[in-house]
Symmetry: C2
Subunit: 335 residues, 2 copies
């Protein structure tokens, strides 16, 4: 390898810290800067608990970090909302730096935020960089992975993805995010307020449809509490019978009254087993299972880092995970 | 979609015919020519049993077909041996046409046939085309699929892939290829002569190693007969107890006395269950299973067709499936 890939990290929260720990194990990568509003002046290695100082000081001056360190790529891990992170992405792109971002709404932004998607694509092309939104979900388990599996299908008629998670193994913000320990009333208020939800089902459904050349005429989502009859607990939270142990969220992609895509996401403290599964109805049909499921925190940091080489070598502009897999694209429905 | 992708098929055997049947279902593709030494003058639709004539006449004049039909891509399905098909690939490349080929030895040719790999890559770049070798195996199940799954791993220490096939569901040339119905002596003679083997383990092992940044110092293979104590049969062949029902072939990738990669391929008439599985030891470890396994004939024709769009949009030159997935590339071992 000629020279190391120079990486700036933008966002040093839980995922950012996990990214740091992955990056320091990669011989071909070098962290040359870190941006966050918290822990300014502290060494990135201390904050990310890598076991040693890295000589990289966290700064809140994004422009200076991007300008002074000549990075090849920014790993961006600050927020789920594309609107919220847009100014941050803009800074990186205008500095001429490729971006890999964990922002869920960037994973497939063309349907929900078409104006921002066009703006980002144009800006990236103008500045000769590539930008990708990825992560374990959205970005892999409920979109890229099933699309990849369809690569050996001559035809796909329907696709169903299930992710069942035992949340007691995840970090506490995740356990709180899924509503563990709340009353049903609190849960329903949170659902109404839009704060309790896994961000990404809509993005994954639209990405799958695009990857298969399917036209959808409706996308619907339901969110329900998961309640058990016995007490369940994690290291952090104890859930009494009748209290909410987690969330069951289901997304459907419709065409002409038929469900073509179903994404079912369940995360609860006390889930009997964790697994991820893809069910393809087609030629051939397929049932693919990941026993125990994929741990989301490790996986998201890993795929952010593993995507770097592909992003640097991809065509300029905004790309999505759909563009990086071979899928069973079929134009029959739109003929 | 602006205009249809123009496809020439080079090789109209069993896989070529399956490719034809897939292509005729894809609205965005158009078959504009067919090349084979057999069935010259016959309509491709008749030979491939598509249910109707396609208006494409099989020709043995490859140069004329490639020149006169201005194809965007050739789907090449003639032989496993790269040396044997090299003149055919050369015709397509020199005609300025992209190539997707089922030639097993093309799937990762850099170790066994480095001179040919360099020649093909240069020729493709000179003629501004892209060439890819793919298929279900090699090309997907024992290389691209496991590599793709490592995309969510922060580290990979060992990888093991198992493909168990009930051969009674496959076409008869496949059943004969795996030695079904032979005596042990005949089987061993065939193994010695090199005619009885699944081509691709070596290619898959070297592709995985490259995709993960691993250096191997040895690659070994074993081939054994599978023998059952009771009579087993398919639609075509009956296998008496003590006769060979199929083959068990195992490939190992070694580094410093340790096995890092194990590919285990078993195909027999009378296998109890069919499945494909990937076992990754790493962070996280993963066990991924395809229940019932993937039907090889459908899958190979499907992935050849599904690869077309990616090949047309990829950088020019010789590419491999490794270049089309995000994997857990790690340079630690070579530091």
């Amino acid at each position: 390898m000629s020279r190391k890939i120079r990486v700036v990290q933008y966002g040093i929260g839980a995922i950012g810290c996990a990214v740091t720990r992955v990056l320091t194990r990669k011989g071909e990568m070098e962290i040359v800067g870190a941006i966050d509003l918290r822990n300014v002046g502290r060494d990135l290695g201390d904050i990310a608990k890598t076991g040693k100082e890295l000589g990289v000081v966290i700064s809140d001056d994004a422009d200076a970090v991007l300008r002074d360190n000549r990075p090849d790529v920014v790993i961006h891990t600050t927020s789920s909302s594309l609107k919220k992170v847009y100014p941050e992405l803009q800074k990186a792109i205008k500095a001429g730096v490729n971006v890999v971002s964990s922002t869920e709404e960037l994973s497939y932004p063309y349907m929900k935020q078409p104006e921002l998607a066009v703006l980002i694509d144009k800006m990236a092309k103008d500045n000769q960089v590539t930008i990708l939104g990825t992560g374990v979900n959205p970005g892999f388990l409920m979109d890229a992975w099933p699309l990849f599996m369809t690569g050996v299908c001559a035809e796909v008629k329907e696709i169903r993805i299930t992710r069942i998670q035992d949340a007691s193994l995840r970090r506490i913000p995740f356990q709180k995010k899924i509503g563990a320990g709340k009353t049903v009333q609190e849960f329903n208020e949170f659902v109404k307020a839009g704060t309790l939800r896994h961000v990404g089902l809509y993005e994954s459904i639209t990405m799958i449809a695009a990857g298969l050349g399917w036209e959808l005429d409706d996308i619907t989502e339901t969110t329900e509490p998961i309640i058990y009859e016995t007490e369940v607990e994690s290291q952090y939270i104890s859930v009494k019978p009748g209290q909410v142990a987690g969330v069951k969220q289901t997304g459907y992609g419709w065409n002409d009254g038929n469900v073509l895509i179903t994404l079912n996401f369940e995360a609860s403290i006390g889930a009997k087993e964790s697994y991820d599964a893809v069910y393809i109805t087609g030629e051939p049909s397929m049932e693919v299972t990941i026993k125990g499921g994929v741990n989301g925190d490790i996986a998201t940091s890993a795929i952010l880092v593993n995507s770097i080489a592909r992003v640097i070598n991809s065509p300029k502009g905004l790309i999505t995970m759909k563009d990086l897999v071979i899928s069973a694209l079929q134009s029959k429905q739109s003929e």
